[in-house]
């Protein structure tokens, strides 16, 4: 098992390195070739201290990363947990009840909510927060008192909700599709003839065989969740990694861009490595390609 984990970690490192190289090339092309500046990404003078616009207290790059990551991590964990649990469970239920026509409506509420632009949902929350609670509704340090923890968790949940809804909507459909595809295999009729119950057939055979494919879905979920937080944190004025990226791009701060993008890439790589490990333990035949 240790060897499995080390192999996954090595592959994750290679992917992270490739993403890092691609990121550096992207910054160079966009700023220097298209933007025609002289600030090349490999020059030390292109970087500097943390700009005052990115932080409210004097801090270096690692301190900035720590602060922002501490804010983003709970959001990421809440939304990821919601997507995997709700999306996975609802999708499995949809596949289990596939013979009933109404099951396609199981994911309807999430799908409808996913059509709502997340940044507009922020506006509604802010307006509600102002008129209902008589406090401005955005989550930045200037306007929100860091009072009881419940308020912090409220802001974390509200930022995570639009990201989670879109993720859940897709996850339900993807999980249902994978399970229904597996449930259409010919050997299941043989199990039915042998007297296996519906639950036996679905959970012990279909679900078990589809588990590596279901785990592979989480790769894309993670990546898209991290991406959606970029817009949502900016909309909520939430001081996380996503808003750091947008602010850094607007300021042209290479340090901020690299810190934010690479930290997201590192998080996604690590989680993908873990999911590939788990997929290989479930099905020891090898990595998915």
């Amino acid at each position: 098992m240790a060897r499995l984990f080390l192999q996954s970690l090595l592959v994750a490192l290679i992917r992270f390195a490739a993403a890092g190289i691609a990121l550096i090339m992207l910054i160079e092309v966009v700023y220097c070739v298209i933007g025609r500046t002289d600030r090349h990404v490999w020059l030390p003078e292109s970087y500097g201290p943390v700009p005052a616009e990115l932080t409210t207290r004097p801090v270096n790059w690692s301190g900035l990363l720590r602060d922002r990551a501490a804010a983003s991590l709970p959001v990421m964990l809440v939304s990821l947990t919601g997507v995997l649990l709700i999306g996975g469970a609802w999708g499995t239920l949809g596949a289990r009840l596939r013979r009933f026509r109404g099951t396609s409506l199981l994911g309807a509420p999430f799908s409808i909510f996913a059509c709502v632009p997340g940044f507009w949902f922020v506006i509604l929350v802010a307006i509600y927060s102002y008129f209902q609670w008589k406090r401005p509704g955005f989550a930045n340090e200037l306007v929100v008192e860091r009072g009881p923890d419940i308020l912090t968790w409220w802001h974390i949940s509200v930022v995570a909700l639009p990201a989670m809804a879109a993720g859940v909507a897709w996850q339900i459909r993807a999980v249902s599709t994978v399970l229904e595809k597996e449930a259409a295999r010919p050997y299941l009729r043989g199990l039915f003839i042998a007297g296996y119950s519906d639950e036996d057939i679905f959970y012990r055979n279909v679900f078990r065989r589809a588990l590596p494919s279901l785990l592979a879905l989480s790769d894309r979920t993670l990546s898209c969740l991290a991406g959606s937080l970029v817009c949502l944190e900016y909309a909520f004025r939430y001081p996380g990694i996503g808003s750091l990226l947008v602010e850094s791009v607007k300021l042209g701060s290479y340090g901020g861009i690299l810190v934010s993008a690479l930290s997201m890439a590192a998080f996604v790589s690590l989680c993908v490595a873990v999911s590939e490990c788990v997929a290989r333990l479930v099905k020891p035949e090898g990595f998915s390609s």
Binding site: P186, Y187, G190, A194, G195
Partner: protein, 300 residues
């Protein structure tokens, strides 16, 4: 005349409708009637699409939701399988009726190892305590001709050969104490030697355990050596039926004669392979439609 107490399976005037593509529906079985007694081997023979596999699947309740029975009954030990509740039918499939099909790999989870598959079978038949130890399985392995079972216990079912899978499926029928074994085109995909071995195995378990066997085959070649009764299917109905030797020595219809002659023999070459003539097919069709419109139908 055999007493009716020994009748295991009785099909009475079963008529069934099935989908036929492009939204159409056709009659799949026409007033089919047959009887299978305990310890008997009954062979249903006919061309592809004649309805023999449909009847086999209908007996185990696996014909699919689009196949609709229009009339008739299928009595298994006195209980009507067509009107049984799903839960009761499931219990019948677990313990009383087993099936072996031509595509054996499509009957098992290919990733499941043999050991796990056997444990699942025992759990379904509610005999896990009796046969909890793997040593207790060895008698069953030997009874189906698997000599070194320890070599295959850890192998996934998908890695086993077709013949080995069929042996295991027959073993499952023995473990679950089934009274009826349905072999739906079970010899397809086997070479001649394996086919002979499989038929020998079936005869052996029939002799030792009194298991009744219903076989569907695509030809009449050699059936007189193992079958007690034979029914010839044509277009969803039974054309003629009776004891195997009598039917094959003196078939009533030209169709049956020509169907029997379709098997090429080495001594026949070189010449064109025989097929069913138009006259024979027409005669058979008239007989089937006449039988399906009468009260009695074709009966075994």
């Amino acid at each position: 005349m055999e007493s009716e107490d020994k009748t295991l399976l009785e099909v009475r005037n079963v008529t069934v409708e099935r989908p036929a593509g492009l939204g159409e529906r056709r009659i799949g079985l026409r007033r089919v009637s047959m009887t299978l007694r305990q310890g008997e081997i009954l062979v249903l023979a006919g061309e592809t699409g004649s309805g023999k596999s449909l009847l086999a699947r209908l007996i185990v309740g696996a014909a699919g939701p689009q196949v609709k029975p229009l009339g008739g009954t299928i009595l298994f030990e006195g209980r009507d399988l067509l009107r049984m509740r799903a839960r009761d039918l499931q219990q019948v499939r677990r313990s009383s009726i087993s099936m072996v099909t031509g595509d054996s790999i499509a009957q098992v989870n290919p990733d499941c190892c043999v050991r796990q598959w056997l444990r699942d079978c025992l759990r379904l038949t509610r005999r896990p305590r009796e046969l909890a130890s793997e040593k207790a399985w060895s008698d069953y392995f030997h009874s189906v001709g698997i000599v070194e079972p320890e070599q295959i216990l850890s192998k996934p079912m998908g890695d086993l050969s077709s013949m080995l899978l069929k042996r295991l499926l027959v073993m499952k029928a023995i473990i679950s104490r089934s009274r009826l074994l349905i072999c739906d085109d079970a010899t397809s995909g086997l070479d001649r030697i394996a086919e002979a071995q499989f038929i020998e195995l079936l005869c052996q378990i029939r002799e030792e355990l009194g298991l009744s066997i219903l076989m569907t085959l695509g030809s009449l070649r050699g059936v007189e050596r193992f079958a007690d009764q034979v029914a010839v299917f044509y277009e969803g109905g039974i054309l003629e039926a009776g004891p195997a030797r009598e039917l094959l020595e003196a078939p009533q219809f030209a169709y049956t004669r020509e169907f029997l002659a379709c098997e090429p023999r080495l001594s026949d070459l070189p010449r064109e392979l025989s097929t069913i003539s138009r006259e024979a097919a027409r005669e058979a069709e008239e007989a089937i439609h006449e039988a399906s419109s009468s009260l009695d139908g074709g009966t075994v």
